[in-house]
Amino acid sequence: MSQERDESRRRPSWMAGIKPRHALAEVDPLPLLKLDAVVKTYRDPMTLKPFTAVDGVSLTLERGEIFGLLGPNGAGKTSTIKMILGLTRPSRGTILIEGRDPWDPDARRKLGYLPENPCFYDHLSAVEYLDLVGSLFGIRAETRRARSQALLQRLGLGAHARKPLRKFSKGMTQRVGVAQALLNEPNFLVLDEPMSGLDPIGRSEVKQILREERERGTTILMSSHVLAETESLCDRVAILHGGRVLEVGSVKGLLSSGVVEWEIGLESLTPDRALALRAQGHRADSVGTRWVVRVGSESALQSVLGELVRAGIKIGSVEPRRESLEEHFVRALGARREGSL
């Protein structure tokens, strides 16, 4: 009671009837990137006809995730990325990077960017180019030197550091691109086709680097045509088509609803039974000494399982095969074209 009296003495009289809050609601941190109904319209320079490259895109990127921007050519991925980088301005809508307009140079201070098919000053060597990039970020000379050396080593370019960039292959240029994107230890990486021009080892190395960056808390926005890699790397993806977002969500979430078929593993199967199953429209294939029967729907699965059990055939395994991101992407685009989405 004395505590209540003490509290009431501390609080102003006009608050006497109001219950005190004992905990403050947590303030949500700013999303790293927020696009709000962004539209970009160009005019054809010859015909002056307007062309909408990005049509009402809204996206939010949270910190520490790898976000994939997918879509066919002309979907608006690069146009969206250019607006995020301040290379072009939205015709309508807003873009904020940690609450700042991308046009503000400070918004790009902790941003790393790898352009598609990058082209750098080919009269410079790799080390000279990274030195230039470091100067633009305001990084001190000794720090830039140390980071450049470390990055070039990490990306397998240590021996080529002093060669002019004009003598670099496509893959080597791509690696320099990754190095210059990481030089300022960014908290936001924007990568346009990061695997382009890389051999399988190179791709694996870059993927490893991106995973390490994510562990560090870096947010990564990547646009890619190589969907298999996007599937393995990205936490969330957005599928763009005609400048609009068709779908956005986690990779697991997008693919969980898409079970393509069920696979029943069998120890053995008689040729007659296999023929009968094929006659019903299912697939029955021998894999070594075992058999795999593939049925297209859950109802068919129930019916086939019942049949096999009644026939005394031992069921080894039953597994759903989910569609890959590529299959989902193609299906989503096809559905869009048919107007069912």
Binding site: G86, L87, F120, L136
Partner: protein, 254 residues
């Protein structure tokens, strides 16, 4: 400023490594040596001929470098898309443009300065007297080069290399005729007069920077003239670069 200087240093490296610069420097050297050959034909005016040709040649070559290399400087960045990776860094567009201007101007200045030093050496050795007064003319020429470079950067911020070179040359030539244009326009209709008056204020007035005639006859460039020329040049260059920066700031890179 660090960012601007980084771009300037890169531009200097890029331009200086162009073969054209070497060709221009060699040409300048040949011109100086050649004028020495002509001097016996000049009936005692050999020293004047060497200094004249040296000053005129170095000024002309440095101007050529500014106009023709400068006009493609920005366009090359856009063609090769090297500008994307740079402008995605925390650098303002105006800083980028200023860096380009400084790099180009310093390269032209180095060509001009180098030729001036060689000219001084050639005249000293051949005529046993050092024409120090040519440094005044060279100083004015440097400011003139700054103006030409600013005009080139202005046009290149929004048009193609060919048009940039054309407009830059046209502006420079028209700048020499500016007073005459104004005089002729004063005889015309009010509309023509207003248009020409507007053009008159925009055109670079390069007559202030031509002291070649003075120094070749042994006179020095007065301090008053140097101050006026420097002030005019600085104000004009700043005005042009602000205009170029304003236009470049609005440019979109599709």
């Amino acid at each position: 400023m660090t960012r601007t200087l980084a771009i300037a240093q890169n531009t200097l490296r890029e331009v200086a490594r162009e073969r054209v610069v070497l060709v221009l420097a060699l040409f300048g050297l040949m011109l100086l040596m050649g004028s020495q050959v002509l001097s016996p034909l000049a009936l005692g005016e050999g020293r004047k001929v060497v200094i004249d040709f040296g000053l005129a040649g170095s000024s002309f070559l440095a101007t050529i470098l500014c106009v023709f290399l400068g006009s493609s400087l920005l366009h090359k960045e856009l063609e090769r898309r090297t500008v994307y990776a740079v402008l995605a860094k925390p650098i303002r567009r105006e800083e980028f443009l200023l860096g380009k201007f400084l790099g180009l101007w310093v390269t032209a200045a180095m060509l001009l300065g180098g030729m001036a030093v060689i000219l001084l050496a050639v005249v000293t050795v051949a005529y046993h007297d050092t024409p120090w007064q040519i440094l005044g003319a060279v100083g004015l020429n440097l400011v003139e080069l700054g103006i030409v470079t600013a005009v080139v950067v202005f046009f290149s911020s929004f048009t193609t290399p060919a048009l940039t070179a054309f407009f830059a040359v046209a502006a420079t030539v028209a700048g020499h005729f500016a007073e005459d244009l104004r005089y002729f326009a004063s005889q015309g209709t009010p509309g023509i007069r207003a248009m020409v008056e507007a053009a008159y204020w925009m055109l670079p007035h390069l007559d202030l920077f031509n002291a070649r005639g003075l120094v070749v006859h042994g006179a020095s460039v007065g301090v008053e003239r140097l101050l006026y020329a420097f002030s005019y040049g600085l104000l004009y260059v700043i005005g042009m670069l602000i205009l170029a920066g304003t236009i470049f700031r609005r440019r979109e890179f599709r």
